[in-house]
């Protein structure tokens, strides 16, 4: 097979482009993600909200949600603190202020569309997706219903259709993603009569928010909620009173949710890689220890046997020697006895000579 020069160079170029792409993708994986460059967002200005609940109504309509028991025009529902649920993607709550000093304040809550969403990070079927336009969307067709996203969300936004036996879904604001794609505004933004909601590119909204807080320092606190909270959110809020007085948590920190679990996840492949080595090592050591114990036992037995054999041999030799000695002694004794017998009998035959001999003896 012959390869033309042109073809070869073409391959080289493709390989080079591949490497470059790979590198940039890798860089995006490790560096901080500060959001898609042209992602959209909404700035909510608490000082402008009049608590009319029009946004709730528009939300229900454009998303085809079930109508509430009490009509949206009924503002008495705000006497109680409400949260987003399976029938409402957004709710407005009223926060009473010092009577006579300042009228009540209202805060709209909905999905904040985090730059690095906790729900998306937590979902084990990857049902949530951060779209490049800024919306965090949910794919009902893969959802198992584990509700870990609800555990994970620091803003307590996702709700569940507990009353559905067969097709329960997670319900949450979609940033009207289908409408955004068609070039329309989110339902709530479109209807807001007080211009409390400003729609635009997130980076522009940050500048607008800063302009307002800088120009009217008496009216606003110097804090754009959502700029850094949990790594930043597409929805931003500015207010004249501390956010905690509006039921917003100020202790969430600036760490994006995926960072919180990164360490634990990174341990997984390490354990999978190292544990078998470690455990096999422990097994080998315990096996070897047993083997050495067995060998030592065998050696000890051999030594003991050898020792016993040597001892037995020595004993035998001793016994043989002793027997020999005994034998000699017995022979000597017998000889002596025989000699004595002989002497006695000769004395009986010749008593005089014997007596003489006996008398001579003490000398």
């Amino acid at each position: 097979m012959s390869i033309s020069r042109r073809k070869f160079l073409g391959w080289l170029g493709a390989a080079g482009a591949g490497t470059t792409l790979g590198r940039s993708a890798h860089a995006a994986g490790t560096a901080n993600f500060s959001g898609y460059p042209d992602a959209l967002g909404v700035l909510f200005d608490v000082t402008r909200c009049i608590g009319c609940r029009k946004c709730e109504e528009a939300c229900q309509k454009v998303n085809g949600l079930p109508a509430p028991e009490k009509p949206f025009s009924d503002l008495t529902v705000m006497a109680q603190k409400r949260r987003t649920d399976s029938r409402a993607y957004t709710v407005v709550n009223r926060y009473e202020q010092d009577p006579g000093v300042r009228g009540p304040l209202y805060r709209k809550s909905q999905c904040n569309h985090c730059l690095e969403p906790a729900c998306a990070s937590a979902c084990f079927v990857a049902a949530f997706k951060k779209q490049s336009n800024g919306a965090v969307t949910y794919d009902e067709s893969v959802c198992v219903g584990c509700r870990y996203c609800m555990i994970a969300c620091p803003f307590e936004i996702p709700a569940y259709e507990y009353d559905q036996a067969f097709t329960p879904r997670i319900m949450k604001c979609t940033f009207c993603h289908p409408r955004l794609v068609q070039g329309q505004l989110p339902g709530c933004v479109e209807i807001c009569p007080a211009e409390a909601l400003t729609f635009g590119k997130r980076r522009d909204l940050l500048r607008i928010a800063r302009e307002r807080t800088d120009r009217f320092p008496g009216r606003y606190l110097d804090h754009v909620y959502g700029e850094t909270e949990m790594g930043g959110t597409a929805w931003l809020t500015i207010s004249g009173v501390p956010f905690r007085e509006l039921g917003m948590r100020e202790d969430l920190g600036t760490t994006p949710a995926p960072e919180l679990t990164k360490g634990a996840l990174s341990v997984v492949p390490i354990v999978a890689g190292l544990w078998p080595v470690l455990l096999t090592g422990i097994y080998a050591i315990s096996q070897r220890r047993e083997k050495i114990a067995r060998e030592e036992q065998a050696a000890a037995v051999t030594a003991a046997v050898a020792k016993a054999q040597a001892e037995a041999k020595a004993k035998l030799a001793d016994a043989v020697a002793k027997a020999e000695k005994d034998k000699q002694a017995a022979i000597a004794k017998e000889v002596k006895k025989a000699l004595e017998e002989a002497a006695k009998s000769s004395a009986r035959e010749n008593p005089a000579a014997a007596a003489a001999e006996a008398e001579k003896k003490p000398n």
């Binding site: 949260r83 987003t84 649920d85 399976s86 906790a118 998306a120 990070s121 937590a122 979902c123 084990f124 079927v125 990857a126 049902a127 893969v142 959802c143 198992v144 219903g145 584990c146 509700r147 870990y148 609800m150 555990i151 994970a152 620091p154 307590e156 996702p158 709700a159 569940y160 259709e161 507990y162 009353d163 559905q164 036996a165 067969f166 097709t167 329960p168 948590r249 969430l252 920190g253 949710a257 995926p258 919180l260 679990t261 360490g263 634990a264 996840l265 341990v267 997984v268 354990v271 999978a272 544990w275 078998p276 455990l279 096999t280 422990i282 097994y283 315990s286 096996q287 220890r289 047993e290």
Partner: protein, 389 residues
Amino acid sequence: MPVPKFAIQKPAWTPFNVVAGIIVVVGLVVTVIRFTQGLAATTNLSDYNPWGIWIGFDLLVGVALAAGGYVTSAACYIFGLKRFHSAVRPAILTGFLGYTLVVLALHYDVGRPWRLPYPFIVQRGTTSLLFEVAACVALYLTVLFIEFSPAAMEWLGLKRARQIVVKLTLVLTIFGVVLSTLHQSSLGALFLIAPSKLHPLWYSPYLALYFFVSSIIAGLSMVIFESTMAHRYFHNKMDAEHLRQADGVALGFGKAAAWVLAGYFVIKVVGIAQADTWGYLATSYGAWFLVELLGFVLLPCYAFAISVREKNLKLIRWTAAWSVVGIVVNRFNVGLVAFNYHLPSSERYFPHWMEIAISVFVVTIGVLVYKFIVTHMPILYSHPDYDAH
């Protein structure tokens, strides 16, 4: 083994059978309600409290208490402590049953249980610790099934298949320890993503390590506890090896538990120091935290140490039961009590009676299946036709 005669003649209306029967009937009725009416009809779960006791007890406690399988098989086959051999099969059995019941209970908890394989076959959410848990639990359940299978094969007389599985013992044990390390710790790591919802005394970057180390305590204690129960009710099923080793298992495991509890106590204190949450100890949550730390960690640690030194088997067994309660307390604290600590009491969760009924039902099924298996298969004795592996 011949079927003991008294088992046949035993009356059907024993107190045990009556109570178990009632629980099973109630459980089945609630099961029908759960799968026809949905979670709202059977649980007190809410948008603020998406996880109740089916996660807090059935999953978190269930998995921890099923740790006896990997702890015992690792001690015997990897660390070479052959004197614990007779404890391996009962521990593998309870581990296998435990994980099976965990998976069964999850079918009640998730909204669409028929989609439980989706994370593996449709779309993998690999950034989720729950994916890690799901993958490891699924794999480990398979490992436990294979590890358990020789007992069933001996019962069924499948000699050749058994031979093959027995040869895999070491590989399966290593695989089991790896998977257990991963998912036991990941159950704790599930809560790492919610620092704003879990009370600072329980939230810690060491959560994963805490769950793993305490699972070893749970495993050791459960083996002692289960053996106590088995001796009480299935004494006639035990062979000479089992009876001879039983006291040694309790002493050895009690000693190990004392050491692991001591280490666990130290790393828990390190966690408070690291996060500098000493101040919270003076609050009411702090008092409850101290009850857990002193009453369910330090106390059993001391009691295990003393009872092992004195060779007091009775105290070892009581301490093991106490440690098991301690694990339940810890998992409830992380999953339910200290979770959502910031919410007003009106928004807090308390289980519906039907949730409790299902949890009791699931445990009862476990006891019944255990009873069937130990009376039919060679669990508490070695089958006379086979060599021990």
